[in-house]
């Protein structure tokens, strides 16, 4: 059996295509944590995320022959995963419910802008109950529309540049930038609400 530790994702994938024992398991093991976290954040349901995780690797297996070996494996994997997650959300028909009785106020100039310096985001090493933080983050993410949530998660989980996101999602660079700005603002606004324990809209 090969020493997989030394090999890149692309090399392991080639080994899988060459039917080397253990290669596919190695790939699944490598991406278990990151991909499962990504999918859990995308769909907001751990059990569904696990199902989509399996579907994603099944799709990778089915599409193995068509993968362009000059490309990087990770973005291809996450693109498949995001597509599967999107399909799940569409089938689940998750629609945001809006209330007519909620106040509809005219936007004042400047009132719609989020200032990140005014948002209380815990530092990475802050002492905090991780379970509680997880739930709050998910609650905030659930308030974003699917398109904003997807661009936010793809960016943060894969550390992609704007150009790479544009290529993966097939949208113009300018749209990626504005969508990313909107996603960050929407998340920050939602986080502010959730972390203060207020009822969300």
């Amino acid at each position: 059996m090969s020493d997989w530790q030394e090999q890149s994702d692309e090399q392991v994938f080639e080994a899988f295509r060459a039917e080397e024992t253990g290669a596919y398991r190695e790939l699944i093991e490598r991406y278990h944590d990151d991909l499962l976290r990504f999918l859990t954040r995308m769909v907001g349901d751990r059990a569904a995320a696990e199902d989509i995780f399996q579907d994603t690797f099944l799709q990778v297996h089915i599409s193995a022959a068509s993968f362009d070996s000059s490309r990087r494996f990770r973005p291809w994997l996450f693109t498949i995963a995001a597509n599967k997650a999107r399909d799940y959300l569409r089938k689940k028909n998750r629609r945001k419910t809006v209330e007519l009785s909620a106040p509809i106020k005219k936007s004042e100039p400047g009132s719609s802008f989020v200032d990140l310096l005014q948002v209380d985001v815990p530092a990475p090493d802050a002492a905090m109950d991780l379970s509680e933080r997880d739930e709050m983050v998910q609650e905030a993410l659930d308030q974003l529309g699917p398109a904003l949530r997807e661009v936010l998660l793809l960016a943060y989980f894969q550390r992609l540049s704007y150009a790479q996101i544009a290529e993966d999602l097939g949208i113009p660079l300018g749209t990626v930038k504005s969508r990313m700005h909107s996603a960050v603002a929407a998340f920050a606004r939602a986080w502010k609400t959730v972390s203060k324990g207020e009822q969300s809209l």
Partner: protein, 404 residues
């Protein structure tokens, strides 16, 4: 009005607001004053649109109206959240710098730190490693099932537009080409399938090694055993659990150290899988068993009982000898396990290592299917007496015996 009328993916109104709209439309806007605050609010909104809906012919318009209102409200909510100009610039700089706070300019540093902290919150969810083994195994098993399903449904179809030739000779040559293609494709598919099945089985060995480790750790180094002793035969699977050696192995399942799936070889179509019966002490039949467990001596055995655990086989792909005996067929001592088409067997050693062997005879000349006493008899027959010497006679007219 039902929310089912609306397109999937679009925002919807809640039930009470929809009912309020329905009541207003049914009574005719303007013909009756709103009965409560909710109806009043809806009434005010609709009056802004100045849309008279007073009769039955406008029923579809009600659905359209609700759709439009809901979308406008959602758009208002989304438009409210925008990054300040400084934050937008910091976001661009942070991403262009490869998500590194230390690589952004001093002016953008504090905002980049916020962006970074948001990223940590979003990506750093915990509690995923606890499912690793289960999910990886389930993923591989799902792929195997897909391959199995593909194989069973694979047919060679002619491409669309294929025209049957008029001559039998042409048909024969085409059939030959198809058979040749099949002879190439089938081994490839079969090869992929057997590689995946071996991988899954090997994974089972590793999973069960963990289960043994946990069990012995919790039971003072004692290997799993259902009872302190057993009756006449350890081969009586499922009939009397206190007798069979398989019930000893089943202790891992009964005490939830392992699942049935961990002890189900993918090549065994009769293997028991899924949720175990909480009252069960053994598999139901020999056919359900995929792996043969070290025969436990009376009183049990400690995992630390031997000085060289690497040489002691704890578990292996199921024994062909037992299957033949139960089927009243002649035994072949050096036959490989029927799992994996008799090409070999996985073995889990007492030290937790697992390996594949294409023979049941270890380097020490120990045959894992047989106890030493019987192996000694076989060795004696072979080594001291040879198979035949040339002096033997047939045992009567019905004894088929040819040579040289």
């Amino acid at each position: 009005m039902s929310t089912d009328d609306q397109q999937p993916g679009n925002p919807s109104l809640n039930e009470s607001d929809i009912n309020a709209i329905d009541r207003l439309f049914e009574n005719g806007l303007g013909s009756q004053d709103p009965q409560n605050q909710q109806e009043h609010h809806v009434h005010q909104l609709l009056r802004l649109l100045d849309t008279p809906v007073t009769d039955e012919s406008h029923k579809d318009a009600r659905a359209d109206m609700i759709e439009i209102l809901a979308r406008r409200i959602e758009r208002e909510s989304l438009q409210e959240a925008q990054l300040s100009a400084d934050d937008a610039d910091a976001c661009d700089e942070y991403i262009d710098a490869g998500y590194r706070v230390d690589a952004v300019s001093e002016n953008a540093r504090s905002r980049a730190e916020k962006l970074d902290a948001i990223g940590v919150m979003i990506t750093d969810t915990h509690r995923v490693s606890d499912t690793r083994e289960r999910l990886v195994s389930a993923t591989l098993a799902g792929i195997q099932s897909h391959i199995d399903a593909e194989e069973s449904s694979m047919k060679l179809q002619p491409r669309s537009g294929f025209q049957l030739p008029g001559r039998w000779a042409d048909l024969a040559s085409i059939a030959a080409m198809l058979l040749l293609a099949a002879s190439v494709i089938m081994p490839i598919m079969s090869g992929m399938r057997s590689v995946n099945q071996k991988e899954l089985c090997f994974n089972n060995m590793n999973q069960t090694a963990s289960a043994f480790g946990l069990y012995t750790g919790a039971n003072r180094d004692m290997l799993p055993m259902a009872t302190a002793g057993f009756g006449p035969t350890w081969m009586d699977v499922g009939t009397t659990p206190e007798r069979s050696n398989s019930s000893n192995l089943y202790t891992l399942v009964r005490n939830q150290f392992a699942g049935l799936d961990d002890l189900a070889c993918p090549t065994n179509p009769n293997a028991a899988r899924g949720d175990a019966d909480p009252d069960a002490w053994d598999w139901n039949s020999l056919e359900e068993i995929s792996y043969s467990y070290r025969i436990m001596p009376q009183g049990g055995m400690r995992a630390t009982a031997v000085e060289t655990p690497v040489r002691v086989v704890l578990l292996a792909d199921r024994s062909p000898v037992v299957l033949r005996i139960k089927a009243n067929k002649p035994v072949r001592p050096e036959e490989n396990s029927p799992n994996h088409d008799h090409t070999g067997q996985h073995m889990l050693m007492l030290d937790g290592s697992a390996n594949w062997s294409d023979t049941p005879v270890l380097d020490s000349r120990d045959n894992i299917w047989l106890p030493r006493a019987i192996e000694s008899v076989i060795h004696e027959v072979r080594e001291k007496h040879g198979i035949i010497t040339g002096n033997e006679q047939p045992d009567g007219p019905t004894d088929a015996f040819v040579g040289p």
